[in-house]
Amino acid sequence: MDKNIFKRFDILLSLTTAILITIGILAIYSATYGNATSHEFYMKQLYFALFGFALMIGLSFVPPQYMSKASYLMYLVTIGLLIAVLLFGRVIKGNKSWFYIGGFGIQPSELAKFTTILCLANYLSSGGEETRDINKPWEFIKASLIVLIPFALILKQPDTGTSLVFLSFLIPIFFWAGLSPYFLVALISFGVIAFAAFISPTYFIVAIIIIAISLLLFKRNYIISGIIVAVNVAIGFSVPKVFSKLQPYQQKRIMAVFDPSTDPLGSGYNVIQSKVAIGSGGIWGKGFLAGTQTQLKFIPEQWTDFIFCMIGEEFGFIGSIILLTLYIVIIYKLISNAYLTRSRFLSIACVGFASIILFHLVINVGMTIGLMPVIGIPLPLMSYGISSLLSFLIMLGIGMSAYRNRNLYI
């Protein structure tokens, strides 16, 4: 091979990914160590990691035209699968989100993560920035629908955590695709209002005033500003009503974020235990397979959503920081590739992937360290789970292709 390979192949991204997967397999090994029913999980993860890694490298060589062409079809297939899983899926822990094929569980919602981003990227990049001007209401609605359909289907399973993932990349992608700051503020305001209204009416009133003033400062159409404020007020009033309609276990989960001791048996239990596990790791950690909390299996199924505890406890602060840094490298690299590539399709896709990885990181790590609600979403590339692992590796393969195609116009 010629030395050009370093210019064409995204070494940094592939290397970081390889390191993260390796740490992930070690973490699963430790978390399932001495566990009769799940000690072979790390082997399964290893096989699929090898396969997924090869898939990632392979994808980085696929010309982006093919990807963009295939994106609508892949999206439709995933939507079909999401509908099928609602009809025929197996119920695991109250969620209807799994298919079982030959002993392997497949979660269509994990696949939907990348197919939705690709579809949205393809939609926004087809016909150039002018025809798909996201500031036009009709274009905005059509683009939003691409995301809201899988969001609604997954919410129906009901898997609230995974459905929220689909909202996480909407704003960053619209921002990247050229949504004006005015609409950006409006979009963000909806989330802010929902949160403020949940905390207390006072917060809600303060937030609504701040939003109204900032919208006025843009000096845009007052009618539109008025409508946005009105929608915000409506959201504010409906949040407490929606909350009261949630399942009691969901309410408990949300309340336990603010005070884990209110629910020491349920989600609060996991948070208390994971904080103790991570905190007791100290600066250097207790050493591989030596974490008492991890090895005593205080946290049920730690190898899925609570895998970060094992890192925090056995590798300490240093290990945690290294791990977080690796993720940040991946996210920065994806944003940088988005900036470099001349393909608008790949550029938007990369921003979507960066957002989705960041969201998973913040929610997952945030939940284990008691900053975020216990929402069952995996830590990318680390948590045990084949669908999720493959889905993220596919995203990274496409991210690498953006680097390879940084001089290519399409």
Binding site: F175, S280, G282, K297, L324, V351, I369, L371
Partner: protein, 594 residues
């Protein structure tokens, strides 16, 4: 916006998030490390689930019919347990060591401080052995749990149902996470249908333990503990004495009885024989005993009172009369000529007598088949189905027990499906007219039907639980059931009631059970079967002011008047006399056919 600026904004955003996460990690792992390490060493939380007492059941007079008694359950806490003791423990409780090992393997990966229930119903010797060897056998303990006891002279096995250890399948399927391995769950009868009422809410005690698994005190000073809430009690509508009496009458036979108060729908007694002894489920259930019950050819687990479905035979003739009146094919004064046999399409259907031109009451009294062959043809399938479904035939009555059958009310679509659109004709209505053919009904459906006739069309949903009593507040809450008026004039019912009166008090097929104290009315029926025919009796008493309606089914018991009528009459008289009379006379069958 320039894309360079956009990139920088995104970089800054990601950087801020990184800083927040790192700050929190610094706080946890650098600043709070001492405190959290102490927690990790000494403050791991052991969560001990406390099982509430299951709700009791009382009969309509306040007598306890399902009670609890304390029993001891062996538990093993995996973290403290030394596997070297596995064989000794298995020996002590007579379990194969492999089974014990399997039970412990199943909970791996879950909280190892949580005691696993291994074996229920320890005897006194086993419990005292455990107490004496507590120090040596670490992690082995016992818990006091409530077991069911039935302080009755009757069984009511199908009515009460039983509790059993939750299966892995049920654990996987549950919504939420209430049940854990080793928990019991209502698995049949009222135990199943009122599971959420009876079970109560589990409590939780949180105990701090050190790394060695030693308890070092209550977590959060016990403030996080949740005390268990005992299950609510069920006040049943059954009469314990009547239940005992009814079971006695059916002992050694195959069949079902269900009696209810027509004014309310309250079930007074419900029997299905053969049955089984519930107490084999209350202790540690021997899988062999359970397998024996399932394999038993007599099907003792099958609740004949609500699950058996057979053609109703002549008990159907009231339904036909009402459908005839309702559809306008008959008036209370109309007559149909009964020649002793009936020919249609070249085929002849026989009857046991020729009665001439008769009206409905006489047709019922004599159980005149030709009358109903002709009426069936006149009605047509559409009217037949319309009026029958008004009495919930082909539907569940909604009795508060699991697995009730809907029976079968054949429709045109049904015949088209089974025989093909050209494979059948109107002649099916001839058999359907006398309650034979494809039509299938259950005892509870017939009982509710007889009750609705007694009440001039007031249809009450049959039910066993009348009130739910909160075990803490003692407040009794009425349970609401459906009660609706069937849209038909009162005089139609009076015509039919008159016919049922004559069956017992005239020269009808059940005159052998005529009673001088209480006016019993009813109708016998025989369901044709490949073996011996099944026998039916439906009825109510007293005629003037109905207080009890009943249906008796005898499988392969021959004619309705020989089997069903004497039993039904005895139960009704027993109830009306305040549980003092016993008029049952098995040889009362007169040999008259219905």
């Amino acid at each position: 916006m320039d894309s360079t600026i956009k990139k920088i904004i995104l970089y800054i955003f990601v950087g801020c998030i990184f800083v927040v996460l790192v700050t929190r990690l610094v706080y946890l792992q650098v600043i709070s490390v001492d405190e959290l390490s102490k927690d990790s060493n000494k403050n791991a939380i052991k969560n001990i689930s406390e099982t509430p007492a299951r709700g009791l059941m009382f009969d309509r007079n306040g007598k306890v019919v399902v009670d609890n008694k304390p029993a001891y359950t062996l538990t093993i806490t995996p973290y403290q347990f030394d596997k070297a003791n596995l064989n000794e423990i298995a020996n002590l409780v007579n379990l194969p060591p492999e089974k014990l090992k399997e039970d412990l393997d199943k909970v791996k990966g879950t909280n190892r401080f949580n005691p696993v229930k291994i074996k229920r119903g320890l005897d006194f010797k086993q419990v005292s052995f455990l107490s004496e060897n507590k120090e040596r056998l670490k992690g082995v303990d016992y818990q006091v749990e409530a077991l069911r006891v039935y302080p009755n002279k009757f069984r009511a096995s199908h009515m009460f149902g039983y509790t059993k250890e939750i299966s892995e399948k049920q654990l996987d399927k549950q919504v939420g996470d209430y049940y854990k391995q080793g928990d019991v769950i209502g698995s049949n009868g009222l135990e199943e249908s009122y599971e959420e009422v009876l079970r109560g809410e589990k409590g939780n005690k949180f105990v701090s333990v050190d790394v060695k698994g030693r308890e070092v005190g209550a977590f959060n000073d016990g403030k996080s503990d949740i005390p268990p809430v005992n299950g609510s009690d069920l006040i049943l509508s059954i009469d314990a004495d009547l239940q005992e009496y009814a079971e006695k009458l059916l002992t050694g036979k195959h069949g079902g009885i269900i009696a209810m108060d027509p004014r309310t729908g309250e079930v007074l007694c419900m029997v299905s024989k053969p049955d089984f002894d519930l107490s084999i489920f209350s202790g540690p259930t021997d899988p062999k005993d359970f397998a024996k019950l399932i394999m038993d050819k007599e099907k003792p687990l099958f609740n004949r009172a609500i699950q058996a479905k057979y053609p109703p035979g002549s008990t159907w003739k009231m339904m036909m009369s009402l459908a005839g009146l309702g559809s306008g094919e008959l008036t209370p004064k109309s007559t149909i000529v009964c020649e002793g046999s009936f020919t249609y399409g070249g085929r002849t259907w026989e009857d046991h007598g020729a009665y001439g031109a008769i009206m409905i009451p006489t047709a019922l009294e004599k159980s005149a088949n030709v009358f109903f062959y002709k009426l069936g043809l006149r009605l047509g399938l559409e009217n037949y189905d319309k009026y029958s479904s008004m009495f919930n035939f082909g539907k569940k009555t909604g009795i508060d027990l699991p697995n009730e059958t809907s029976g079968l009310l054949p429709t045109q679509a049904y015949y088209d499906k089974v025989f093909g659109p050209r494979g059948w004709n109107q002649s099916v209505l001839i058999n359907l007219g006398i309650g034979q053919g494809e039509l299938l009904v259950s005892p509870v459906q017939l009982c509710a039907y007889s009750s609705a006739i007694a009440m001039n069309g007031l249809y009450n949903q049959p039910h066993l639980v009348s009130k739910i009593k909160n075990s803490i507040t003692g407040v009794e809450e009425n349970v609401k059931y459906d009660s609706h008026q069937i849209d038909m004039p009162k005089n139609y019912f009076e015509v039919v009631q008159r016919g049922m009166y004559l069956v017992v008090n005239g020269t009808g097929t059940a005159k052998n059970v005529k009673n001088d104290t209480y006016t019993i009315v009813g109708k016998t029926g025989t369901a044709q079967n490949s073996g011996n025919n099944h026998s039916w009796f439906v009825g109510y008493a007293p005629y003037e002011d109905p207080k009890i309606a009943i249906c008796v089914l005898g499988e392969n018991a021959g004619w309705g008047n020989a089997f069903g009528a004497p039993i039904a009459a005895a139960i009704m008289v027993r109830y009306l006399s305040g549980n003092s009379a016993d008029i049952f006379n098995e040889s009362a069958g007169s040999g008259i056919t219905d």
